[in-house]
């Protein structure tokens, strides 16, 4: 029984160690600015198409569903309110994080995993450079900077999708849609909507790198690491989301 627990406990401990070292490296020399820029481009700019598409369609679908439910109460005019609250507080951050996890946690795990199985990580260490400093910290910083930006884009495109549905399906005036959308939001929502992606970003980058760096067993191992990274990152995003939401709900209701 104890032996069964040994491996997962060891893994959690290793993960905390990786997290600690990656965070400490933010304040240590050398800083690999070129790597941070490259990762910002891959993670941030590279994810824009998928964020635009999922954001647009999720916003549109939500407007459709909300509009239909609100029709029963004769409140179709408030579609914008619901679309914007749900997008900014919840759907935008979570959906963007899940998409970026699917794209980049997997990418990090497979890239670092391939480097691990071909001894390139050992070569980095042997050449007197810290693979965490060179590979993990730039990915962590880049994701933390880019995910909030991507979330803002996702929120806006989602509202745009909702607007199309509101105007063309429910025949709402544009002005009404945008003013309800705008008025629905308070600072608390914006804070929540930006804090969430910032926290999720660490789950995405660190879990991706963690599984990549502990890859064992050749190409099959790389495949396994990639799958595990995405699954675990997604689950962690939803769990953390619940906790952050609970904190915000408690803070605003008291």
């Amino acid at each position: 029984m104890l032996d069964l627990l040994k491996a997962p406990i060891q893994a959690v401990q290793d993960f905390y160690e990786l997290t600690g070292r990656a965070m400490r490296n933010v304040f240590r020399k050398p800083h690999y600015l070129d790597d941070i820029k490259l990762q910002m481009d891959t993670i941030g700019v590279g994810s824009i198409p998928i964020v635009l598409l999922t954001g647009f369609f999720s916003g549109a679908v939500m407007a459709l569903q909300m509009g239909r439910s609100l029709q029963d109460y004769g409140q179709t005019g408030r579609t914008g309110t619901f679309v914007s609250i749900i997008l900014v507080r919840e759907l935008g951050p979570v959906l963007t994080a899940v998409m970026v996890a699917g794209r980049n946690s997997s990418g990090m795990a497979s890239e670092l995993g391939s480097m691990k199985v071909t001894e390139q990580i050992d070569a980095m260490r042997a050449l007197g450079t810290d693979p965490l400093q060179k590979l993990v910290t730039p990915r962590m910083i880049a994701t933390a900077l880019m995910l909030p930006c991507l979330t803002v884009i996702d929120d806006f495109v989602g509202m745009l999708g909702g607007w199309l549905i509101a105007v063309y399906v429910y025949a709402l005036p544009s002005l009404q849609y945008w003013s309800t959308t705008w008025r629905a939001l308070v600072w608390n929502d914006v804070a929540q909507g930006l804090l969430k992606p910032f926290v999720f970003s660490f789950a995405i980058s660190l879990i991706g790198c963690f599984y990549g760096l502990r890859t064992k067993g050749g190409t099959q191992g790389v495949g396994r690491a990639t799958t595990q990274a995405v699954v675990v990152a997604d689950v962690v995003i939803f769990v953390v989301d619940l906790f952050i939401t609970k904190i915000f709900v408690s803070a605003t209701s008291s």
Binding site: R21, K29, P30, Y32, M115, T118, E119, Q120, D122, A123, R125, A126, L127, G128, T129, D130, K134
Partner: protein
């Protein structure tokens, strides 16, 4: 000799992996002194690679001390090990080049990324060119490792190991899996590096003829070829590793005179092998 003058010193080092019942390295002690070339002979699985990885702290021993450039590397946190590893060049068995970087970027990697001796960009290119000229691959700068042959990849890995001019070089089976002609080219480079830059080296190999070449030939800078070392000889020490234990340490003459059948098998010269 005190520990401070030796570049690499193993003191009763034992390494064991979690699920193994026997030790990968068993109570190993030896000392690599400046100017010396050590040839470590051993069959596959005898612990040669484990020994090299332990020497630079990639593997932590169960017991004993590993002193690299005078410091106990086995007991220090990894963040401190990086600065010591700068003084060591290592050639991995499979070259371990960064496959998504060009040859020039691979060779420039230690210069660009080490914490301490990062060169200004202007000095980078000449240093990279010089290292690649040393292994006669200056024309491959913009190629990717996958576009080169196995022998060329290993030469690039040598260039990457020597570009920072480390005083100690560790070669892990530099000739494994190569044809005799390419293997000779690689060994000639190792001898050239020793004689041009006066570096200390630990060469791990399973081929006795590699050691024989290092012990008896010198690089002639005028002709660019290897000449017999003659009477003055070279400062070469042989060691034989068997299942994690050091069973021999001494000169080439002592090695050839050894009666142990395991050692005798290694020392068989190619012509004897052909006759047998």
């Amino acid at each position: 000799m005190s520990a401070d003058t030796s570049l690499l010193r193993f003191e009763n080092v034992t390494v064991r992996f979690d699920d193994d019942e026997t030790n990968a390295l068993d109570d190993l002690s030896f000392d690599v002194r400046p100017g010396e070339t050590r040839i470590l002979l051993g069959a596959a699985g005898s612990g040669k690679t484990v020994l090299l990885k332990t020497a630079i702290g990639l593997i932590r021993p169960l017991g004993g001390q590993v002193r690299l450039i005078g410091q106990d590397i086995a007991r220090m946190p990894e963040e401190k090990q990086f600065d010591i590893r700068r003084h060591v060049g290592m050639l991995f068995q499979e070259s371990a080049l960064f496959d998504s970087m060009t040859i020039a970027q691979n060779v420039a990697y230690p210069l660009l990324n080490q914490r301490v001796n990062r060169l200004p960009r202007a000095q980078m290119e000449p240093a990279v060119r010089e290292a690649l000229r040393f292994v006669e691959l200056e024309h491959t700068l913009e190629k990717l490792p996958s576009e080169l042959s196995g022998g060329m990849r290993r030469r690039v890995a040598i260039a990457r190991a020597v570009v920072t001019k480390p005083p100690l070089l560790l070669y892990d089976s530099p000739t494994a899996g190569l044809d005799p002609i390419t293997a000779h080219t690689i060994m000639a480079l190792i001898i050239k590096e020793r004689d041009v830059d006066n570096t200390t080296a630990l060469v791990v190999t399973h081929r006795y003829q590699d050691g024989n070449l290092v012990a008896n030939f010198r690089y002639n800078p005028d002709s660019g070829r290897l000449d017999p070392a003659g009477k003055q000889g070279t400062n070469t020490v042989f060691m034989v590793l068997r299942e994690g234990r050091l069973i021999f340490e001494g000169s080439q003459a002592e090695l050839e005179a050894a009666r142990d059948p395991y050692i005798a098998k290694f020392v068989k010269r190619p012509e004897e092998e052909a006759a047998a």
